[in-house]
């Protein structure tokens, strides 16, 4: 269940290989080490979550995995190819929906298709099917300001999937949503992942969310971000919301919570 802190995962195929990376930022008040000797191996098709306190460099890690930022040392490869430029074969979802205000829900999803030069009819068909699958049928022609926060984030997830990427990277995608919407999004996410062959890297600070969705959860230490522990989540799928109260589930959340308490990420007054 618990593995060595390097989080190499089981032996076998590796999709994303983050090998001993360090990220140091230079600021006017001195250098800041955001990531310190981090190694992560993600298996193909694996749902991998990274949890940790704010400022542990987990967003930096996602930017590096996306090729949008480069590590100060160490290397990153995806499907055997070294990453030196922004990866265009991925879907990416940020905490804010980042929808273009002047495009409709459908238009926003289609932007991705335009960028990947997917034939118009095919793109339209795929985009509509995706929007329908997340309950947005009938909202295709609405503008972002006419949609609720949860709907906007669903559109941005559709946009991240319309070109059928092999890798989905999400940076606290449900962080700005209310609890009920969050639960629905988590269920939608599980469904989306079951329907396609996709590896997901999810950055979150919600322990329950990470355990519910993941095959494996990586816990990070406060700054400088290091890998504290990787935990295989051995729970049957599909998981149901009610399972969150089951002893098997709480065993995992408790383990992570205790790590946070031990590291001083959380402090309980006696």
């Amino acid at each position: 269940m618990t593995q060595a802190p390097t989080a190499t995962g089981n032996a076998g195929a590796v999709y994303l290989d983050i090998d001993r990376i360090t990220k140091v930022y230079s600021t006017p008040t001195g250098t800041v080490r955001a990531l310190d000797d981090v190694t992560i191996r993600q298996r193909p098709g694996e749902f991998l979550s990274i949890v940790g306190p704010s400022g542990c460099g987990k967003s930096t890690l996602l930017m590096i995995a996306a090729g949008l930022s480069s590590p100060s040392s160490g290397s990153v490869t995806a499907a055997g190819k070294a990453i030196t430029a922004p990866r265009t074969d991925i879907g990416i979802v940020f905490q804010s929906h980042v929808l273009l205000e002047w495009r409709t829900a459908l238009g926003n999803v289609l932007l991705q298709a335009e960028a990947h030069r997917i034939e118009k009819g095919e793109a339209d068909r795929r985009a509509r099917a995706l929007l329908k699958s997340v309950g947005l049928e009938g909202f295709e022609d609405k503008y972002p300001h006419e949609l609720s926060g949860g709907m906007r984030q669903r559109v941005s997830i559709c946009r991240a999937l319309v070109h059928e990427p092999k890798h989905l990277l999400m940076d606290e995608p449900f962080g700005a949503l209310d609890a009920l919407t969050r639960d629905q999004m988590i269920l939608d996410m599980q469904k989306i992942c079951r329907e396609r062959e996709i590896s997901v890297l999810l950055i979150t600070h919600s322990v329950a969310e990470a355990v519910f969705l993941s095959d494996r959860v990586i816990v990070m230490t406060p700054r400088p971000g290091k890998i504290d522990r990787a935990i295989e989540i051995d729970l049957p799928r599909p998981r149901r919301l009610i399972d969150r109260d089951s002893p098997n589930f709480t065993r995992y959340t408790r383990e992570i919570l205790e790590m946070f308490l031990a590291r001083g990420v959380l402090r309980e007054s006696p």
């Binding site: 930017m63 922004p86 940020f94 991705q112």
Partner: protein
Amino acid sequence: MSEDVEAAVERARRSFERREKFSVVFYPLLAILILLVIWELFTLAFDIPEFLLPKPTVVLQSVQQNAGLILQESWVTAVEIILGYLLSIAVGIPLALAIFMWPFFSRSIYPILVASQAMPKVAVAPLLIVWFGFGILPKVLIAFLIAFFPIVINTVMGLTQIEKEKIYLARSMGLSAVDTFFKVRLPNAMPSIFGGLKISITLAVVGAVVGEFVGGNAGLGYQLIVANGAMDTPMLFALLFGLTFLGIGMFLLVELAERLIVPRHMIGAGGGKEMI
């Protein structure tokens, strides 16, 4: 039963909207009317001589008598304004693009731009008359000089102020530089650009009138000087009203263009504020 409630709510909303629409027009007109009445009574009560402050009714007479002249001179001024404004767009937008795209260009040109704004352009007017004579050109140039700065600043601001995630997204989609500009950055900048365009049109009006003050032989500004020399204060007011209507007309044209180009819900999201 429930349908009755919905129909009633719908009816209430429609009548509310109708009243809103009506009051948007009605109250300003009422306010103007009241001000005119107060003005009329004030001049009557204190017996103020006409050359100081003519009564609104007298101004109205003057407008009627000089309607032909005012219209004709408005046309002259309007042409100067439009040409100066178009020139400031033709120069301002490409300049803003260059400033946005080439940092070295931005560093070299920015101090000069700011200095050119610190200098009062009204003071340059006589020089332009010396160089370009008394024709239409110096008026167009002054209108241009006053109007182009907000266009440059707002365009640069609009192009640079963008959520960094939008750019990350474009890069991870593999959008080309050209596509990123036209599909993401430029539409994102449109509200801000129109903010600048709306400020500029009012400045172009000022520029054209200043040009006519300094060395004109036609236009509303020139007629103002003439009326002033003749101590024809009612005519001065009549011309001022002409200028006001011209300015509002120009502004409304730009606003119409904005409505056609920028989606309604994005209007005003940029640096500029709604002025009417």
